[in-house]
Symmetry: C5
Subunit: 95 residues, 5 copies
C-alpha cells in the first residue's frame, strides 16, 4: 500500500452506473513522515477519512475486494487512517 | 483513479473480437486543476464523455468490472466526468 | 490501453506449457502521433498485426480476458490495430 | 517480486473492516545487495519479518492469494525473508 | 511481457506457506538486444531458465495463471526463454 494525505474531494455526477453513491477523495501521495509529494490520485473512501489525515491506499485490482467495491471499476481505495509510523525505532509520523 | 482530459478519439476496425462496438477516447493525463500533462492513454468510454471534459479513469484489472466490460481485455475505462474538485477548501477545478 | 508500433518478432521455444502456439511481437511504445519512444515490450498478438502498424495494447490482468488467453500467464496483448487518431479535431495519425 | 528492507511499523486503528487484525510493516525498497533506496511502501506481513531483514514483496492483485488475504484489499504482501542472493556466482547478499 | 537476463538466484527459507518449493531467480531487465539495464526483480521460474539466458517475464496478476502458481502470491513469472528477436527484419538478439 502507499501513503497519502487527504487534501480534498472530487465531485462527479455522470458516472459509470455501478459507482452511484461512492465518495471520492483527492489524495496527495506522502512520505513515511507524512510530507506531501505533489503527486495526486483519486481514491474511494469507505472509512470516513478527513482532510489532512494520512491514509494507506490499496491500488490496482485489490481495491475491489470489499463488500462495497466488489464488481465496481475502482483501482484505488483508502484502507486505513494512519495513527503512528515508526522507522528505525523512532516515531516519524503521529496523527 | 487518475485524472485526464478527453482530447480526441481512436478508431480501430481490426480488433480482438470481444471489443466489437466499444468506443475509445484519447485522454491526456491531467493535474487536479485540469491542466494536461502531455502523457496520453487510450480509455474505453461508457458514459458519453466529450472532448475537453475532465474525467476519472480506472486502470488495471478494475476496468473490467462493469456489465459491458466483464471478460473484455480492457485496462483503462472512464468511470466519471468530473464536475468539481476542491483542494484545501478551495475549488481548483470546475467544469 | 497504451499505443505502440509493431517493430519485430520474438521467438521462444522453451515456454511455460500453457503458452504453446502463441505468437509474440516486439512492440515499441508510441505517441498518439505514432512516433516510437524506444521503450519496448513483448505482446501477444491475436489479430494478425504486422510490422509498422500502430496498435493498442492492454496490459496487466486484463490481457487474459479473451477465449485464447484465459488462464495463460500473459500481461500484454494487442487488442486493436489503429486506423485513425484525432486530437483536438485534427487527424494526428492515419494508417 | 521486488526486494525491500523492513525499517518500521505502521499503526492504523480505523481501517476498512476486512483488514482487522492485520500487521503492517514499513518497507524501504532495496537493491539485490540489500542497499535501501529511500523508496517506501507499506506491506502486509504474514511470516513474522523483523526490522533490518531483507524481504521479497509481491505487489498488485497477487497479494490477495493466501488464506489470510483472500478478499481483502491488500496490494503488497511480504512473501519471503531472504537468506542469500547470488549474482553472477558471487554472493551479493547474506542475512 | 518484459525482457530480462537471468543473473542469479534468491534463497528464502521463511516464506508464506503457499510458496514452499518454488525456485526464484534474480533477473536484470534487458533491452530487446539482451543488454542488461541494472534494474532487478525476483521472478518465479517454472521452465528451468539458466544464468545468462534472456527470458520473457509476465508481471502482475497474470503470473498466477499456471497450474503451479494458481492461488500463490506471485507477481512475476518467467514464461519463456528467448531464442531470437528480430527488429525491423534484422536479428538483434540470438541465444
Amino acid at each position: 500500500m502507499i501513503l497519502g494525505k487527504v487534501v480534498g474531494t472530487v465531485v462527479s455526477t455522470v458516472k459509470a452506473d455501478d459507482l452511484a453513491g461512492a465518495r471520492y477523495l483527492l489524495v496527495d501521495k506522502s512520505s513515511q513522515r507524512g510530507e506531501i509529494k505533489g503527486d495526486y490520485l483519486v481514491a474511494l473512501d469507505l472509512i470516513g477519512a478527513n482532510r489532512n489525515e494520512l491514509v494507506m491506499i490499496s491500488e490496482s485490482t485489490s481495491a475491489r475486494e470489499t463488500p462495497l467495491t466488489v464488481s465496481k471499476p475502482i483501482d484505488a481505495i483508502i484502507v486505513g487512517i494512519i495513527d503512528v509510523i515508526d522507522e528505525n525505532d523512532k516515531i516519524v509520523y503521529k496523527k
